[in-house]
Each structure stands twice: as C-alpha cells, then as structure tokens.
Amino acid sequence: MHRVRKILSPVALISVLLAAWWIVVARGDGAIFPTPWQVVQGTRELIADGTLVGHISASLMRVGAGFLLATLLAVPLGLWMGRVDAVYDTLNPIFQILRPISPIAWIPIAILWLGVGNAAPIFLIFIAAIFPMIVQTAAGVHTIEQRYLQAAENFGVSRAKLFRQVVFPAVLPQIIVGMRISLGVGWLVVVAAEMIALRSGLGYLIIDSRNAGNRYDLVVSGMVIIGLIGLLLDGLMRLLEGLKSVRWRYAR
C-alpha cells in the first residue's frame, strides 16, 4: 500500500501539472512557450541528430572529474581535521568563510585562470563539491562515540588498524552523505558553468537553444533532462547507503 502510494501519487501529480501546462499554453496565444508535446518532439529531434548524448556525456564527464578530485582531497583532509584538533582549528575558519561563497561567484575567476575549456567547469564543481564533504567527514569523526575509540585503545592495536577498522568505517556513512550532497551541488553548478562558456553540455544546450531561434521546446527539454539525471545521480548515491558496511548506521 505504502509502495503503491509512493509511486502513484507523484505520478498523478505530475500528470495533473502536465495537463494544466498543456491547457494553459493551448488556450493562450503566445506562440513561444511550448506544449508538453512540442517538448517531446524537440527531445526526439535532439536524440535523432545525436547532439543530446554529446551534451549529456560532456556534462557528466565534467561533474565526474570535479567530483572525483574533490572526493580524493576532501576525505583525507576531513579525516585529518576530525582527528587532529590543531588542524581543525586552523583550517575550519577558512573553510567556513569559503563555503558560503556560491560556486557561481567563482565563474569569472575560473575563466580568468583556466580559460573557457573544460578545466574551468571542473574547477567550479571541485569548489562546490569539496566543502560539504570536508565538513561532513570532519563532523563524522567528531561524532564517533567515545566508547568505540576506548574499546579500540584497550586492545592496543596499531594506528593503521585503528584507522582502517574503526575511524574510517565509523565515518563512512557520513562520508557518503557528504558525497551525496556534493554530487547534487556539483550537478547544479556544471549546468550553470556551461551556460557561460563552452560549446557543449546541457547548460550550453539551454542557452544555445534560446539564442539560436528561441527554441523554448529545447530549453524545457534540457531542463527536464537535467532534473532527471540529477534524480538518477542521487539514486546512485543512495545505493551506496545500502552497502552492507554502512547499513548499521540506518538500522534501529
């Protein structure tokens, strides 16, 4: 019953919204805004001429690269900050200042430093993705319950073992939460970044469709695809939460 409702009610709501959209557009006389059907037609056009796949993979590649770089740096840094108070006290204020700066604000600097190639959007995603992961990881280390650390201390194991079998697995659920947030923000940012420069990606598709002949059917198509891929990426990260070694966090 619950499962049925979980699928059925959003589908019903979306249908209603689509119908409303269609009716409003059909009854108005503004020719610019597309009907849902025109959006579908436009999407099929994009698929047929092969450009859609190109845009999607360009965007995904940028997000993937920026996100990976951020993860590689954020996780060790977050763990280090979490374990060593002096490191935390030194770095945390800087991160707290940098964090609220929207990655969009970095766009001019990114272009100045890195030009209009792939490096700039990858850098922006990196900037967007790294802070949530650092914060989550460090906070995760701080919330490891004392009793576990003391039990580990009691058995007199090596630092490496303490790290591998206690600290890291204890923080892993939080790291995954951080990764999930970061990937979401990264996806948000890549589209924005592609609107400024570049000649590929879903952001470029949207801006280009508007500039080249007010193709609002393609604009909306691009938006919907961005939303769907975002949902998919989040779903992938949620799969990580189901891993056996992190499920303890969500049990009971």
Partner: protein, 253 residues
C-alpha cells in the same frame, strides 16, 4: 585465605583512590578513598548503590581515567593507561557496529595469519553459543547476543584481567543467568582475574570469590564478604541466602 592478601600483595593493588569531578562551579566527590587487592585468578565482585561511582572506579582501575589521589598497581607497575592486558567490558557495550561478529573478534588479535585469526575468532564465537552468526552484523543480533559478542571479543585476546562493568544488567533475568553460567564455564578453563561491577547482589554472589560493598557517594568500601562456596553454586541454598541478606542490609534494604 585470599582475604589476608588485602592491602599487602596481589595482582591488582588499588591504593587509596580518590576522584572527584567539577560540577556547577563546585566539586562532586565521587570516589572517596578506596583500597583493595585482587589476587591472580580471583573474581572480585563490587556492589553499590546506583550512581555511587562504580563505573568511575573501574575506569580508573583499568587505566582509562586518572585518580586525583592514590594509585593503581597492576603486577607491581603503576597503571598508566589501558592495555590489552586488561580488557574492559563496558556498561553501554562497545561492539563495533560496522564490523561483523567475526571481524569484531579478530579486531584485537595482532598475531598470526588472517586464517588463524578467523579460526580463533570462530572458536570463541562458538564458545559463547553464537555459532552460525560469524558473518552477522551487530544490528542483526539481540541484546543478549551482543553482550556475548562483547565477552567473546574480550576473551579471545586472552587478557589476564577482565574488568566487567555491569555486563549483564541490560538483559532479562533468564539471559542474565544463562550468561553467568557460560561465563563461569569459560573462566573455569581460562582462569582470568576478574573485577566485576554489578548492582545485582545475586549476580555478585553467583560469580565472585569476594564481594566489596560500596557506600553512597563519595564512595568507600563499606563491607567485605568472602564467598567461599564452590561452583556450581545453588543460589537458593541457605548459606547464600543468609549472605545475601547481610549484603542487602549493608545496602540499606
């Protein structure tokens, strides 16, 4: 008789321990001067009213906390910090939830190949009656099973001393009794030295060679009782019942 050893020799020597905590700008005296000795292979039970400072005391003895005054000697060395020589079985439990039962038991093993460690771990898993649960995660186990994992994880490293802080208090009466019997069976073979904190007088009578009764905060040793009965003990026997009433009356009941 073991009682003669008090204050003279022993595997563990507790010498005039005092401990307080800062509280609301003032001071809360918790441990008010405690001395006793534990012989090799002896099981000393410590009972006392709730909140009197039992956990504080055992944490100091195990090396997790410093006393304000006095000192603890283990094998003639001043206790400076926790080590694998004495494993604590804590009141809240500390089985790692992110490791399987087998991985938990293997955690403290630093010698041998992975296979040997796994075999040893599985042996102790079976010893506490959890055969078949080696690959289970703690959240897949009941509270009683979890306690057994904790005990097995301590035993598998063959610690010379076990510090047990109300190990069975979260369990129902039946499981409590069952685990006590299992523990006695294991201790019979391995002869660990045990300090057992409990607020269950019957549990103390069942397991201990000697029982220390603590006073309310700031806690001191109020009375000491030898429990000179061989195992298996029949808790309903008149001698044990008499001892039980004496202990209870010390506790003001």
């Amino acid at each position: 008789m073991r009682g003669e050893a008090v204050g003279i020799t022993g595997r563990i020597l507790v010498r005039d321990i005092k401990k307080g905590f800062a509280k609301d700008g003032g001071r809360l005296d918790v441990v008010g001067g405690i001395s006793f000795a534990v012989d090799d292979g002896e099981i000393v039970g410590i009972v006392g009213p709730s909140g009197c400072g039992k956990s504080t005391l055992i944490r100091i003895i195990a090396g997790f906390d410093r006393p304000d005054e006095g000192q603890v000697l283990v094998d003639d060395l001043v206790q400076k910090g926790p080590s694998a020589k004495g494993i604590v079985i804590s009141q809240q439990g500390s089985v790692f939830p992110w490791l399987t039962v087998r991985q938990n038991l293997m955690f403290g093993l630093n010698q041998g190949s992975e296979r040997e460690k796994a075999e040893l771990a599985d042996h102790y898993t079976a010893l506490v009656g959890l055969k078949g649960f080696e690959k289970s995660y703690p959240h897949e186990l009941s509270g009683g099973m979890l306690k057994r994992v904790e005990i097995a994880r301590a035993l598998v490293v063959k610690p010379e001393i076990l510090y047990m802080d109300e190990p069975f208090s979260a369990l129902d009466a039946l499981m409590n009794l069952r685990l006590r019997i299992e523990l006695l069976r294991i201790l019979e073979k391995e002869r660990h030295t045990v300090v057992l904190i409990t607020h269950d007088v019957e549990e103390a009578l069942h397991l201990s060679d000697r029982i220390l009764v603590l006073s309310p905060r700031p806690t001191r040793i109020q009375a000491t009782f030898e429990v000179p009965f061989p195992h298996p003990r029949k808790l309903t026997s008149p001698e044990i019942q008499t001892l039980k009433s004496s202990i209870l009356s010390e506790l003001g009941i």
